[in-house]
Amino acid sequence: MKLAARETIDSFVKAAFRTTGLLVIVILGGIFVMLLWNTIAFFAHIKPLDFITATQWNPGGNRASYGILPLMVSTGIVTLGAMMIAIPLGIGTAAFMSEYANSRLRNILKPMIEMLAAVPSVAIGFLGIVIVGPEIAKLAHQANGLNALNGAVLLAIMALPTIITVTEDALQALPVSYREASYSVGANRWQTLRKVIIPAAAPGIIAAVMLGVGRAIGETMTVLMATGNASAFPKGFFHSVRTITATIAIEMGEVPYQTTHYYALFAIAAVLFLITLLVNLAGEYFVNRYRKYQAT
């Protein structure tokens, strides 16, 4: 091929690659505009104050009510429960892998954690119905055990791989000199871990938790299947709840296009989008902080 032709191809291809890069911005912008547009349409019908303060989500009733509060509290309870389980287990596992396990054991554990991350959420939700549900039912003398606790357990399982991987990364990133310094003043492994390693890796661990929270808040299928989806205001771990994601999943399939109800679902999706965005940005901020520590 002649040189001129080759160079034409080169600049053409460069332009094509660049276009695909720009497309990514268009997609994120598109999602944002779509949510915003439909949210604005929603607030043309419903006052923002009612959306925030009303304590009922009842779009179907005679006097329809679109309060996001019960949904947010539901999402909050399930996520909180999940983190209470996943944070200690995740940090403990990451610490074990990073500080105690030899490289052979680590090479077995790591793929297993990846396998756990690979299990589809719908399969975990299914196990919530057939395993976790009946156990909770026995424990709490309830009929089926489909409640916030069940959702929390499942979300913990789903968030664990993220938390473990990011925490382990942060622990491994610490220079060996930290450990040596601690051992040289007579601290044992456990004291070193608690007094030196974990505080030094704190930004990384916070990032891990943030990313885990982001994962839990946005998860749909497991909570949809395991929490019972009662639309009443949530009362606690042993009661049925209905998260933002589950509400969208249940109602979007049945609602007629371009009704207030339809727009309402986009409005709660916009809230969900903003929350996950903030949580993930916070996670990223902390990841960058521990990367910076590494560099210096």
Partner: protein
């Protein structure tokens, strides 16, 4: 006494954490295998469902998931790799590049149900695709895009600059150096990322809920302009929405096992590529 004992207790605490996490994985695999295995049979994976889903097989759900995953790959892989090439090989470090990178990171954090809404608004309604395999494929393609971009960029970053310079120094254009030298060297890494991403896409349910999946269709799945059945949605419906839930539980277990096997097969493929690649280095 306490002083000598406490490290042991502490060691057991951490071991207990690790053991608990592993027990989740083992419990999942054990339960699905023990209760799903009896449902598996040649008929189960090759026949259509019959008698209101209480009998027969799940063939249309399997073909639907396979077709949907392939469609996702066709839509997302070329675009994702191309975007990664732009970012790693061409882009200067300016505000536009930083904006693209920030968009990609944020896209990978967007909940999958929101992709479902976006797909509904854009593909199903906006572009008049209707609820169809095509609309669902586009939706899952978008969802997969950020993962493919970041894993591909990671693989490209591992190729040293000297490899690119070698090609440029003998008079290759930048595109020729990418095509002939950079991409072939990065291929195993890219492939690993693609396969892992597709295994995620195969198991996703929320994005296809409103964009094209159906509980039952007449005949076989696989037409681009029609609704389709898929394994994850089939499992969801059998385990929560069926009128005879207890009766179809064995079928649900069988479906769950097939789904997990499909996903794990893709994961093991990715692990294998990565393992071989590391040994070659």
């Amino acid at each position: 006494m306490m002083k000598r004992l406490s490290p042991v207790i502490e060691w057991f605490t951490l071991l207990f954490c690790t053991g608990t996490v592993l027990s989740f994985l083992i419990a999942i695999l054990w339960d699905l295998t023990a209760k799903g295995w009896p449902s598996l049979s040649w008929q189960f994976i090759t026949e259509l469902p019959s008698e209101g889903m209480t009998k027969g097989g799940i063939l249309p759900a399997i073909t639907g998931t396979v077709m949907l995953t392939l469609l996702t790959a066709v839509l997302a892989v070329p675009l994702g790799i191309s975007c990664a090439i732009y970012l790693n090989e061409y882009a200067k470090d300016n505000w536009l590049t930083r904006l693209i990178r920030a968009s990609i990171r944020n896209l990978s954090g967007v909940p999958s149900i929101i992709y479902g809404l976006f797909g509904l608004a854009l593909f199903v309604q906006g572009m008049h695709m209707g609820t169809s395999m095509l609309a669902a494929g586009f939706t899952l393609g978008l969802l997969s895009l950020p993962y493919i971009i970041s894993t591909t960029e990671e693989a490209l970053r591992r190729i040293p600059a000297s490899t690119r310079e070698a090609a440029l120094a003998v008079g290759a254009t930048q595109f020729e150096s990418i095509r002939d030298v950079v991409l072939p060297s990065a291929l195993p890494g890219i492939l690993t990322g693609v396969v892992l991403t597709l295994s995620r896409a195969a198991g996703e349910t929320a994005p296809i809920l409103f964009t094209g999946v159906a509980f039952y269709i007449n005949g076989s799945s696989g037409y681009l302009n029609q609704e389709f059945m898929a394994l994850p949605y089939h499992l969801y419906m059998l385990s929560t929405q069926h009128q005879a839930i207890e009766q179809v539980r064995p079928l649900a277990y069988g479906t769950a096992l097939v789904l997990v096997m499909v996903v794990f097969f893709l994961n093991l493929t990715a692990f294998y590529i990565r393992y071989k690649y590391r040994n070659n280095e």
